[in-house]
Symmetry: C2
Subunit: 343 residues, 2 copies
């Protein structure tokens, strides 16, 4: 039996639970691809699963758990019912399925329907920064909020991204400004995060630690049509609803658990849209849409419309993974952290 | 000064407050049309305004208030900035603006941008049944929920309409089944309302006084993709969320005022969409979309795709208006009530 190196955990806790492990190389069954992992992107979901505080169901504290739901690699084998788009040797990227093992291992298996072609113009490290966050923005804003792909006639609609310099924020700025043609306001509070938001394409950057309404007004913006809220909505939901124009939409990436005033949204016809990138693969609802979105994102990268959000690279070691988790959890990370090369 | 007859009220209360009045014929200024009213549709908003319990702001108890926000009539004069679509003599229909007087008078003025051409194949009485409810369904479901116009490839998505035999429900069944190509489940509890839902095009009719989930299951439907909820969501919101498929949407025509469990909607990515037909004219947000929707609805009627939802006609008198309000408030009304001929 062929084996492989993995970075995993058998109990939940701080980064000290992470360790090296040896696993059998999995087989591509059903609609799966077997992928040789080249680089692994880090997301907040990794630390949430490591600590077992994820919103999407508790894991068992005994099995070997691998985190890492963002991958770029090479197709090694194709399952008998796999999507006909892929052949051995194809370079791919994908965000995976949180109901299965993450991809912190030399090989991984993934449902071919949620896999996209890696942008040819990016390295594996650069490509692994994109899938999870790009899917989140595309599903939440283009699909969930119904924002059309631009350019649009007339005055551009306005989007506010809370947490502009983070992983979702940094590809969100790009997609909403360059693909959807919106006027994008991003929030950031440190000089380096403000600069990063501007580099990603934000038209206006405001400080989320100060009065948002006053800062929008100072920039000639009376209200925004869309909000992409990357932080806990229990903190800021009512603040956001005061900024929204009639028929506006708020996309939340996290559940709203505290009571909120929904009645006040009625006369302005404001909608609340949830986005969780793992919904489709986890519940097996139109998973093929994720493959299609990633292929589209890949084409936009190769056309020069979108760029990687990679900022920090760490070695694919236990120490590198631990540092990446800590950096991700610090709340100070700018853009994306990717581990690699794998192996 | 030319005067006209009107049916109005100068205090709030039961139908006994309604009385006949004489008013000057208004002038078509700005972007308005002056319309000779031929028929007036009755909606729940009329009784709410009569009693001053509308969600959209309290009125003053002294001025002459006219209700009636559904009208079919003939253009008598065109304001200097009016939409170029209209000429004197054109037959039109529209739902109006609740921030202005309703149209229970021989003449009324209306912003030309929210006016549509009356279906040529309908009488004024038949046409006045449609604007407010058709706009509500179109804005709430096609725009708000993002339901594409059909036919769609693959298995049809499923919509549940709570209150299928009412004014909104009866045009909702038609639009969602015949224009959007959805499988439509409507609720109704009396033999005559069940029959009316079927006549409007409902594929399945279930009883809202019994277990909805069990009845859906008995009809081979495991979940629905959209809900059009025409009743108070404080009564049934949590019941509805249990019926919704992942990525489903609930359209509410009334504000949600009680605390609801929004966290449980997260993993399934369920959105809450509000619809209030008066938002656009009241807040002057893209009012021209209402003219465009009504023109589209008119064409669909003349093509035989949609039909009037008129069921009850009353004379345009104080007594007729009072009876219409009482019938509308009874909760037993099927389809629409229209008053006319006016004058």
């Amino acid at each position: 039996m062929k084996t492989m190196k993995a970075l995993g955990q058998t109990k939940f806790g701080g980064t000290e639970v992470l360790h090296e492990a040896t696993l059998p190389v999995p087989e591509a069954q059903g609609s799966d691809l077997l992928v040789r992992v080249k680089a692994v992107g880090i997301n907040p979901a990794d630390s949430m699963v490591r600590q077992n505080v994820a919103d999407f169901g508790k894991l068992q504290n005994s099995e070997l758990v691998l985190t890492g739901w963002d991958c770029a690699g090479v197709v090694e084998d194709v399952g008998p019912q796999a999507d006909g788009r892929f052949r051995k040797g194809d370079e791919v990227f994908f965000a995976g399925n949180i109901a299965r093992r993450g991809c912190n291992s030399e090989y991984t298996v993934v449902d071919s329907r949620i896999v996209g072609r890696k942008p040819a113009s990016l390295s594996f490290i650069e490509a692994a920064a994109l899938p999870l966050t790009a899917l989140t923005v595309w599903e939440g804003m283009v699909e969930g909020c119904g924002i059309p792909l631009g350019p649009q006639p007339g005055t551009p609609k306005r989007a506010l991204i809370i947490g502009g310099a983070g992983g979702v924020g940094s590809i969100g700025i790009q997609i909403l400004s360059r693909v959807c043609g919106l006027k994008v306001v991003a929030t950031a509070s440190r000089p380096e995060s403000v600069e990063f938001c501007r580099k990603m394409g934000a038209h206006v950057v405001i400080d989320h630690s100060k009065d948002l309404k006053a800062q929008l007004t100072a920039n000639g913006i009376d209200a925004v049509d869309y909000v992409l809220n990357t932080i806990n909505p229990d903190i800021n939901f009512d603040t956001l609803t005061a900024l929204i124009a009639p028929m506006g939409k708020i996309c939340s990436l996290h559940p709203i658990t505290k009571p909120v005033d929904l009645a006040s949204l009625y006369v302005r016809r404001i909608s609340v849209v949830y986005e969780l990138m793992f919904t489709r693969p986890m519940l097996n609802v139109q998973p093929e849409m994720q493959g299609a979105i990633l292929d589209h994102v890949s084409a936009l990268v190769d056309a020069g419309t979108l760029r990687t959000t990679l900022v920090t690279q760490k070695p694919w070691t236990v120490a590198g993974l631990a540092e990446a988790h800590q950096h991700s959890q610090s709340g100070k990370a700018i853009g994306k952290i990717v581990l690699g090369p794998v192996g």
